[in-house]
């Protein structure tokens, strides 16, 4: 409900400030979104986001491989960078895309910040190295504080493989990719005017000048690429959700929490309307929809951060460290992703890199998850809830 009010306010505010851009024509009276995300030109599809689908599929193979102790660091790095034909799927090996090249690579956040971009990519590299050099060798050992190994969830549950601080690195990497790749590319790159309006995109879109040998304008394509990072392996015209291990899955999770039901439709509607606005040359409506998407996708990251910290806390209290470490490791990844969220009203994330690094330090202090206190988990949860205007109780269950 709150989000609808925000959206309405956003729309009212944006509508009431007139566009000063002489290049854009007078806005068409009412942009109408189609029933589904389906757009044609001369009877043929104009929507395309194969590069995004490819990276999601690469991501799936990569995070599976992180749990294979027979892999070498070179092989895992090779999947992350897509070099050396390290994927099982040769179609992926033949692709020109890679995950690493788009990690911390958005125009708005990193075009002028190669320092942070490089540090973030290196962090991923170091997690891969640690998984291979520290966790794989102790795969068959029982984990204890200060030593990596395996730990089973109580009651015969799944077995988790953790580092010396109880961090399940494959989970940390998985959930961090959601922020550093999907979220960052969507919110801070493809939905940004810096990308949508780059070069002659506006004039081309107005004049319906298509990209070479393609059935879309550049602007249309950029918007589709944002769409592709969320729906890349889902049904474009009838999203099923939970069709990948990344953003699509966690949109599904948040949607099924009664406190947030409706978020999936809000996002899909904004994508449809924004894309229709581009066809109609209405860039105000387009940007309004971008703001809605930024709001809602950022919220997913925040909600899941709180959720996993709270669930991890409960497992800890009941004496089940295996489940606790698993939940907290997922929380770790979502917290790492907070630095890639985007306020709809500014050029900043909800939490800076420095603030996120601080959260991580708190979680990993001493023996990490073996030691972390309920107080710390609650304080961090409350900090995130306050920044996003959420309720820990609602997000935490």
């Amino acid at each position: 409900m709150k989000n609808s009010i925000l959206s309405i306010l956003a729309v009212v505010c944006l509508l009431s400030s007139c566009s000063n851009d002489d290049d854009s024509p007078a806005p068409s009276p009412d942009v109408v979104a189609p029933a589904t995300y389906s757009f044609l030109r001369d009877g043929a599809k104009s929507v395309s986001y194969s590069g995004q689908t490819t990276r999601i599929v690469m991501g799936e193979e990569f995070i599976s491989a992180l749990k294979d102790p027979s892999k070498t660091e070179a092989q895992l790095d090779g999947m992350f960078t897509n070099t050396g034909n390290n994927f099982e799927d040769d179609v992926l090996n033949a692709s020109s895309k890679s995950i690493r090249s788009k990690v911390a690579a958005s125009s708005d956040f990193f075009a002028a910040n190669a320092t942070d971009a490089s540090a973030i990519k290196s962090t991923f590299d170091s997690w891969i190295a640690e998984q291979v050099n520290d966790v794989y060798p102790n795969w068959g050992e029982v984990a204890v504080a200060g030593q990596s190994g395996q730990i089973q969830e109580a009651g015969g549950g799944s077995t988790r493989y953790v580092n010396n601080k109880g961090l399940e690195l494959n989970q940390a990497i998985n959930k961090s990719i959601i922020g550093a790749l999907m979220t960052d590319q969507m919110l801070n790159n493809y939905l940004s005017p810096a990308v949508l309006d780059a070069g002659s995109n506006i004039e081309d879109n107005n004049a319906v000048i298509l990209a070479e040998d393609k059935n879309y304008t550049n602007m249309e394509h950029k918007w589709d690429e944002a769409f592709g990072y969320l729906y890349g392996t889902d049904d474009q015209t009838n999203p099923q959700l939970n069709q990948d291990s990344f953003l699509n899955k966690y949109l599904s999770r948040v949607e099924s929490d009664p406190d947030y039901a409706g978020i999936a439709q809000d996002i899909y509607d904004a994508f449809k309307l924004g894309r229709a606005a581009i066809v109609d040359n209405d860039y105000n409506v387009r940007d309004e929809q971008a703001a809605i998407i930024r709001d809602n996708v950022s919220k997913i990251i925040a909600i899941r951060s709180i959720y996993y910290l709270q669930q991890g806390k409960l497992s800890r209290i009941s004496g089940d460290n295996g489940s606790a470490f698993h939940d907290l490791s997922e929380g770790f990844g979502f917290i790492y992703s907070l630095q890639f969220t985007r306020r709809s009203d500014s050029n900043a994330p909800y939490f800076s890199k420095g603030e996120v690094d601080n959260f991580i330090s708190q979680l990993m202090a001493g023996n990490g998850f073996w030691d972390v206190t309920e107080g710390t988990l609650d304080t961090i949860s409350q900090n995130i809830a306050d920044r996003f205007d959420l309720s820990v109780t609602e997000a935490g269950s």
Partner: protein, 374 residues
């Protein structure tokens, strides 16, 4: 049609409860009725929980005796006797599993006694190892009744080969010592839980009458509903019947290796649930305060339909469905899984009645979450 009127009244009451009560995770606060919760707690502790634990303890002593006899001279007779005393203890266990409170909760007693399916690889790794810590969380699926089931019924393909595994095979001592360690551990854990009840916890328990999330009343009520939903409905029926997976999983029934006792054990469990609901004393027909009495008391205030009768009827229907199944539930899954699903559905009918209607009318909150598992 009194029944229909009552059902309609129940439906309206439930709807009213849904619309009027907020879904808040915080506790409900002070109890708004004058039901004597201490009478209920006392009946639970003195007439049900402690007697059941005492019975289990003595059954496990017999199991140890029969195990020692088997180890001394393994033959068909001693193997059979071992299986008999294992089954007796397992049936008694069905009356104990739901009480995950106090010492039992602290040491994860239930997880150390009855996690199934058991993990054969972990068991074999332990047998081969120089040492093992049976209480380590990694071994929850390699200990307890299900592990013993494997050791005495599933270790080899035939009974003669099982006997060989404990007598003539090379390294047979490893099998013997693991079997012995398992059973000794079950007995030791049970002694720990029982002693805690009889020395100090009983008094703490019967005085913990407050309506707070950590009071014994609320915790045990939650334990009861959780056991019904997970321990009975899901573990014994839902999971093997494939309700939570893409296809049935017949190897996940309780007592899989013994083959013929899974239905029997589930009927004991349902019996335990219904007796506890009605406040029936362990191994007796005497009845005291429990949920049924509480709901009847609330009926006099709220003039509700008699929820306690509806719940009992639901239990009875489920019992009939289960009785019509194959004694070997794995074989039932294989030959006609629809009947397993029908038994599951019959059990499911009581979940809403317990988890929503009963709990809300007693002004208690559910304290567990159905985790989605990643």
């Amino acid at each position: 049609m009194e029944m229909i009127k009552r059902l309609l009244l129940l439906v309206f009451t439930v709807s009213a409860l849904y619309t009027c009560s907020e879904s808040d995770d915080n506790n409900s606060g002070s109890s708004s009725d004058n039901f004597d919760r201490q009478l209920m707690l006392t009946n639970w502790a003195d007439n049900i929980i402690i007697p059941a634990l005492q019975d289990l303890s003595s059954d496990l002593s017999v199991l140890i005796t029969d195990k020692d006899a088997f180890i001394t001279s393994p033959d068909d007779a001693s193997l059979n006797q071992l299986r008999v005393s294992w089954l007796k203890a397992y049936k008694t266990w069905q009356y104990v599993e739901m009480f995950n409170i106090g010492k039992a909760e602290e040491i994860l007693y239930g997880f150390q006694m009855n996690v199934y399916p058991t993990n054969i690889n972990d068991i074999q790794a332990n047998i081969n190892a120089d040492s093992y810590d049976l209480s380590n969380v990694n071994n929850h699926d390699a200990v307890g009744f299900p592990a013993v089931d494997y050791m005495i019924c599933g270790l080899r393909a035939t009974d003669q080969e099982i006997l060989n595994a404990y007598s003539s095979e090379p390294n047979f001592e490893d099998n013997t010592s693991y079997l012995s360690a398992l059973i000794n551990q079950m007995d030791a854990l049970t002694m720990t839980v029982l002693n805690d009840w009889t020395t100090s916890y009983r008094d703490v328990f019967v005085n913990s009458t407050a309506n707070t999330a950590t009071s014994a009343t609320n915790k045990l009520t939650n334990d009861f509903v959780f056991y019904y939903e997970k321990g009975l409905r899901a573990n014994k029926f839902g999971i093997p019947a494939g309700v939570f997976s893409s296809s049935p999983l017949k190897t996940k029934v309780e007592a899989f290796y013994n083959k013929d006792v899974s239905k029997m054990l589930s009927l004991s469990a349902l019996d335990a649930v219904q007796d506890f609901f009605n406040g029936v004393a362990y191994n007796s027909t005497a009845t005291g305060e429990s949920f049924s009495a509480y709901l009847q008391y609330l009926n006099t205030i709220n003039s509700d339909a008699s929820l306690n009768e509806i719940i009992n009827t639901t239990f009875n229907i489920a019992q009939t469905k289960i009785e019509g199944l194959d004694a070997n539930l794995a074989r039932q899954v294989e030959t006609d899984n629809t009947k397993m699903l029908e038994a599951y559905d019959a059990l499911q009918d009581a979940v809403v009645l317990l988890k929503v209607d009963m709990i809300q009318s007693m002004n208690i909150s559910i304290d567990y979450v159905d985790a989605d598992g990643d």
